[in-house]
Structures are given as structure tokens and as C-alpha cells.
């Protein structure tokens, strides 16, 4: 999936001008870009279409921090972003998360788990809380879950994604999905790339950056020095 030239231009402008924040207003975006609020609104709509906007209401919005990844990585995560932005969340009608039951039902139907659980299975790094799954048939999966007492809910922890993009390399796909999700997903992506450097090596720039970080860490004595320990010594 490629970025068209105008999209790339807009994206680069947003990336270079917008500071990292927990939430933004249209005024923040307009100010950062040096453009009108109307233009900022157009850019926001574009970011939404690309899947970078997490939540947005009356000109206030939050962005996935994957928006700040190197531009060379962005085309690789666009299919993941689109899939995540079209997610369908479900939980049991009685309010329970129903993850274990859904996992059995969905895996029997066929498809591909990703993000939290898949990353945890690959790395054991962060505990999972939501079950993300690309079913072979989205409609069939929703039908089966409904028949088993699940309802769609914004607070659902069983999360179905439409299959968009390439799934031929499962580890690479979980890696790209984790990068795209941003936040703690970036930590998962780093853990995956450390454990599976060959499978994730296609995101060249990011990969070399992580390798350089690892080299610096090793050169500095095999580990980073936690602030706490330094401070304890100072005490």
C-alpha cells in the first residue's frame, strides 16, 4: 500500500510540526502547520482515513503515536491501521469480557490472532488484555459470537479486524500491527524485532535504529541504568 504524493506531503508536515501530546485540538494542528483551521480540519480528516485518529469529538482528538514513526515505515503499516480503524468490539451480554470462550470459537472458525495475545505469545513481554483476531470471514465470526451470547460494545475486549493487506509472514504482520497500534504496541513491536530480527527486518530504517540502540546499550555496559539505582547511589 503506497502513500500518494499529496498524502505524503501532508503527513510529513504533520509529523515534523506537531509536538507529541496526549490530546490535540484543531487549533493545535492549525498552529503547528501554520495553516487555517479549515485546512487543519482537512488534514484531520485525512489522518482519520489513514487510521491514525483514536478518538475525536468536536475538534478535540487523540492520535496513535505511530504517526511519529519514520515515513519509510508508514506504507508498511497502512493496511494494519486501516484494519484497526475498522475494528468491531464485542463482549458477552452479561458484561463479561468472554475472551477465552471467544478465542476457542474464533480459532475453530479460522483466522489470525494479532496484537496483545499474539505479541504475548511471541515475546512474553507484556500481559494481554484484549483478543484481536482477523477472522477468515468477519460476518461469519460476528454471527457465531452473537449466537453464543456476545454483543457489540465499545468496551468489548474481543476485537475483530477485517483482513486487509498481506498475511504471508505472520510474525511480520503482528509486528506491523503492533507498530500501527502505537502506545504499548510499539513496545511489543520492539520486543518482537529483538526476538525475530530476520522476520521483521523488512522495515529497514526502524530495524537499523533499533540495532543501533542495542549496540549503544551493549557498549554502555550491557544494560541501561535505571534512574532509581543512580538515585539510590546518590542518596
Amino acid at each position: 500500500m503506497e502513500l500518494r504524493h499529496p498524502e505524503l506531503q501532508m503527513f510529513t508536515r504533520v509529523q515534523s510540526a506537531l509536538p507529541r501530546k496526549s490530546a490535540y485540538t484543531l487549533n493545535d494542528l492549525a498552529f503547528a502547520l501554520g495553516r487555517s483551521k479549515k485546512t487543519a480540519y482537512r488534514h484531520l480528516q485525512q489522518l482519520k482515513r489513514m487510521g491514525f485518529v483514536i478518538a475525536s469529538h468536536e475538534g478535540v482528538f487523540t492520535l496513535r503515536d505511530s504517526v511519529f514513526l519514520p515515513t519509510s515505515v508508514i506504507p508498511k503499516i497502512l493496511p494494519s491501521l486501516l484494519a484497526i480503524s475498522q475494528q468491531r468490539k464485542l463482549r458477552l451480554r452479561n458484561g463479561d469480557r468472554g475472551i477465552e470462550r471467544a478465542r476457542h470459537l474464533l480459532i475453530a472458525l479460522g483466522g489470525f490472532p494479532t496484537l496483545d495475545y499474539a505479541a504475548y505469545e511471541l515475546t512474553g513481554y507484556q500481559t494481554p488484555i484484549a483478543f484481536y483476531f482477523y477472522p477468515n470471514s468477519l460476518e461469519q465470526a460476528i454471527k457465531v459470537l452473537r449466537e453464543n451470547g456476545y454483543v457489540e460494545s465499545p468496551r468489548g475486549s474481543v476485537i475483530l479486524l477485517p483482513k486487509i493487506g498481506d498475511f504471508s509472514n505472520p510474525i511480520q504482520r503482528v509486528f506491523h500491527d503492533s507498530l500501527a497500534a502505537g502506545g504499548r504496541g510499539i513496545l511489543d513491536a520492539i520486543a518482537i524485532t529483538r526476538k525475530f530480527p530476520k522476520e521483521t527486518g523488512s522495515t529497514d530504517y526502524l530495524h537499523s535504529l533499533l540495532n543501533m540502540a542495542l549496540k549503544v546499550e551493549q557498549d554502555m555496559g550491557g544494560s541501561d541504568h535505571p534512574v532509581s539505582s543512580r538515585r539510590m547511589r546518590e542518596d
Partner: protein, 167 residues
Amino acid sequence: MIIPSVRDECVKISSEIPSAVFVGAAATLAHLGWYARRTSDLDIAVEVASDVEEARLVNLGYLKLNDKWYTPRHRKIDIYTRDVSGFAVTKVVNDSVQVAVGKSTIRVAKLEMLVLMKHRAGQTDDVRGLIGNRFSSIDWDYMRSIARNDVEVAEMKNVARSMRLQK
């Protein structure tokens, strides 16, 4: 399941390091009903320096490896004795809240302070999780009293607005 063992670990650490106040993952878990994504590390703020003297911790079975501390149950723990994300440990401890864990209790950073800590650490997932799930419990006046400035509080309110929680 892993989550209950974190609770147990928090209780054990509290009994070994009596002045420990949990910040970071353990505090987030405590505020979110022990349900949140996390790594296995635990962070504590400790005001009473003698509680975390090296000899004392070693006596308790704690292990120091490459400048990092591990509990006797092999869990990595970061110990903060001066400040955490711009908050003085004294303030973190004084404002901390007690949370029941089974028949025991542990102390964790106050919700509003934790939100700001997460915000300052750039952990936006946790900021959204805490505000989204605990919005009605947030004391905005208190947050204003501990924030660096009004801009910081406005940003937290904007997170709530983007989720349609606040007008």
C-alpha cells in the same frame, strides 16, 4: 493467570518495604481493577531511605544485578527515592491512597498524580485507559493543584473530551 501474582507480589513487597508506595504498572492495575496491559517490572516510591538500604534489601533476599534490583520472587523492581516523573517522593507518599488487596492493603499513587505521571512519561495508552475508565473519580481541582501548569490539565481534559466524557 499472571495478574493475581502481581497482587500477591505487591502485598509481599509492602510487607518487606513498609514505606513503599506503588507507582507505574502496579498503581495503574490497582486503579483499573487489576486489569491493564503491563510489563513484569514494578515501580515503587520510597520515602524512608533506611527501608531500601542495600544491606537490608540483600538481607531480605533481594538481588542486585547490573544495577537493577530483583525481589526474592525474581521480579524486577525500580525504586525511586527522590522523584517520579517530576513529583517529589514525599508528595507521592503523602498523597497516596490505600487499596485493599485481599485481606491486606497496599499504598498506590493517587489517581490524578498517576495520570500526570503517565502523561509525562508519554504513555498515552495508560493515560487514555485511566481517564476513560476512572473519569468520574477524577478530582480536577486536585489535579490542577499538582500539575505543572493549566496547559497540562487542559490536555488531560482534552483526552476526556475526545472520548466524549467531558463537555
